[in-house]
């Protein structure tokens, strides 16, 4: 990709779990590689256990990768660089009630971000800049909002504040970890529209992590579908939604309820059990649930097959 601001290469994160007798490795993410261009929203779609939040936290520097690497804005991010550049890839958290310190005013974190990341703004001008930032995400009147305490804002307002805080460092990429999952459905749209505006007006890229395909389709330019820590399918949103190739993507599509359309027949009896990510063994991790599973599938991990210049799926049953 020509102007990729983020290039992730074989990122892996393992956790040690278990006590003395049941020691094991939890493969949160395994050899994940993808890229994000400037000014685009990429949706990282997956259910519980897919590793999507882990990717965000490794990229944000909250914990180190076990192996693999990533390059951000042309700089290779080893451990030292990650620690020094915290805040260049800011994160918006999922929980509107837990992600803001309840005893400090709303403006506090925002002003701190400005202090840490915008040395060009003088102390006297910081407040005005903070007001501009919150108004950009639709929180008006800005001065009043900044003086409030978090419990005086609604869930949707707090999530907007999360985006305003992320914008403080003028980032080229924002990591949004399920920013709308805990909001009411009619409030979600407001936030999704804010994300679109940030992409269109500020040129910010967003890595949008979610389990909801419909909202991913609404905002994202490209989609990456994760399963059990590995990428199952990726491509332009129109490609992945329009002609999903990986059996897991197909399962997600048929399971996601769309009230505007007639119901699809419920295929098979997949109960939605989470995948095995502790000491998973070789082969495709979706094989136990896959209707198309072949012998090959449990022996070696399927490589990414190119279906077009932009559309890839990791599955033996897929023909290029």
């Amino acid at each position: 990709m020509p102007d990729a601001i983020l290039k992730v290469q074989d990122l892996t994160r393992l956790f040690r779990v278990g006590g003395f007798r049941t020691r094991g490795q939890l493969h949160a993410i395994d050899e994940v590689s993808f890229e994000v261009a400037s000014g685009e929203i990429v949706a990282l779609v997956g259910e519980s256990g897919s590793g999507k939040s882990t990717i965000a936290r490794v990229l944000a520097g909250l914990y180190p990768a076990t192996s693999g690497s990533f390059v951000f804005e042309g700089k290779a991010m080893g451990r030292r660089e990650v620690r020094a550049s915290r805040g260049d890839m800011p994160m918006v958290f999922q929980d509107p009630f837990g992600s803001i310190n309840p005893v400090l005013r709303v403006g506090h974190a925002l002003l701190r971000s400005l202090k840490l990341h915008r040395p060009d703004i003088k102390r006297a001008d910081r407040f005005a800049e903070a007001v501009a930032l919150v108004e950009k995400v639709g929180l008006t009147p800005g001065e009043e909002v900044l003086r409030r305490y978090p419990h005086e804002l609604s869930g949707g307002q707090r999530q907007r504040l999360g985006f305003a805080q992320a914008l403080a460092s003028r980032p080229s990429l924002i990591l949004a970890d399920e920013p709308v999952s805990m909001l009411d459905v009619s409030i979600r749209l407001g936030l999704l529209n804010v994300m679109k505006e940030l992409r269109d007006n500020e040129g910010v890229s967003i890595l949008y992590i979610t389990h909801d395909l419909a909202s991913a389709r609404y905002v994202a330019d490209r989609m990456i579908v994760l399963y059990a820590g590995r990428i199952a399918e990726e491509g332009l949103t129109t490609e992945v939604i329009g002609s999903p190739q990986h059996p897991y993507t197909r399962l997600l599509m048929s399971s996601a309820p769309d009230p505007h359309l007639a119901p699809t027949a419920f295929e098979g009896d997949d109960l939605g059990e989470p995948p095995k990510v502790i000491n998973p063994g070789p082969g495709c991790r979706f094989a136990p649930r896959c209707p198309l599973a072949m012998d090959q599938c449990v022996v070696t991990t399927p490589p990414m097959v190119a279906l077009s210049a932009t559309h890839h799926a990791a599955c033996y049953a897929v023909k290029p």
Partner: protein
């Protein structure tokens, strides 16, 4: 520094709160009165508390509001004068206990790993030591118990309970998203601990302080009562000692024994009532919400 500025907001909020909650207001008034007595006891003592010149065993009268002791000392003046010792010991021991338990408890929780293991072990060992017997042994061994020795002994035996509580609360807060958010935007560990972690714990820290203060009052009174304090000092505990020794209750001088006891109870109640105030100060969600002038997006 930021942390200081955050903490300095506290008195203002406390004041505004006092006017609303009756419990807190009562507690505050009690403590305020006792603090004034501590600072300026001579303004309130009608007579010299140590002077043994009055009629011994006198009944209640306008001149001796609580009667006199069997040595001829004015009970009322003694009680007033004794305030200083008790309040000072409460505040000083409370302060040091709190400082130590905050440092130990929060460091253990925040750093985890081997630091946590070590500090927790230390806390648990000190916690398990039986306090009162230990105090008696130490003080008895050293024969004379000056004020500062008493403070030292009480702090040594008193910090561990608070450290345990604070550690547990800090552990539960440690993985809150807002701490991760602070870390993610590049704040240093020191900043995260002082500005993001400690303020939400203020109510528990203050509760600890008040608890330690109460413990100090009762323990010091107890020590003095069994005769291990400085018997010439003017304090409620020594009053109890002398009253007991001279069989105040049996000889028809009940006020001599009751007055210091009631005084201790009043101090304790003041400390407990004030606890309520700090819960609201530290947790803004408990405060009443002002209506927002203009309302916009949800």
């Amino acid at each position: 520094m930021r942390a200081l500025r955050v903490l300095l907001h506290v008195p203002g909020r406390v004041f505004r709160f006092m006017r609303r909650d009756k419990n807190a207001a009562t507690g505050a008034i009690i403590l305020f009165v006792l603090l004034v007595l501590t600072a300026f006891p001579t303004w309130f003592t009608p007579h010299d508390p140590a002077a043994e010149i009055y009629t011994p065993g006198a009944a209640v009268s306008w001149s001796h509001l609580l009667g006199t002791t069997s040595f001829g000392q004015d009970v009322f003046s003694q009680v007033i004068a004794g305030t200083r010792q008790s309040v000072m010991i409460a505040l000083i021991v409370g302060f040091f206990c709190t400082v130590i338990s905050v440092i130990v408890g929060i460091s253990a929780a925040y750093m985890g790993g081997i630091v946590d293991d070590g500090l927790s072990l230390l806390t648990d060992v000190v916690l398990v030591i039986p306090t009162f017997p230990l105090i008696i042994v130490i003080v008895g061994y050293l024969k004379s118990a000056g004020f500062w020795l008493m403070v030292f002994v009480l702090v040594f035996t008193g910090w561990s309970y608070g450290a345990r509580q604070l550690r547990v609360q800090a552990l539960s807060l440690r993985n809150r998203d807002y701490l991760l958010a602070a870390k993610a935007r590049g704040e240093s560990s020191w900043y995260v601990i002082t500005v993001e972690l400690i303020p939400p714990m203020t109510s528990l820290i203050v509760a600890n302080f008040l608890g330690a203060a109460l413990y100090a009052v009762l323990a010091s009174a107890g020590l003095q009562f069994v005769g291990l304090g400085n018997l010439n000092a003017e304090s409620w505990g020594t009053m109890l000692y002398w009253a007991q020794n001279n069989e105040a209750l049996q000889t028809g001088l009940p006020l001599w024994a009751l007055a210091p006891g009631v005084a201790i109870a009043i101090l304790g109640s003041g400390l407990a009532l004030l606890n309520y105030a700090f819960d609201e100060v530290a947790n803004p969600a408990l405060r009443p919400v002002r209506a927002m002038k203009k309302r916009r997006v949800a």
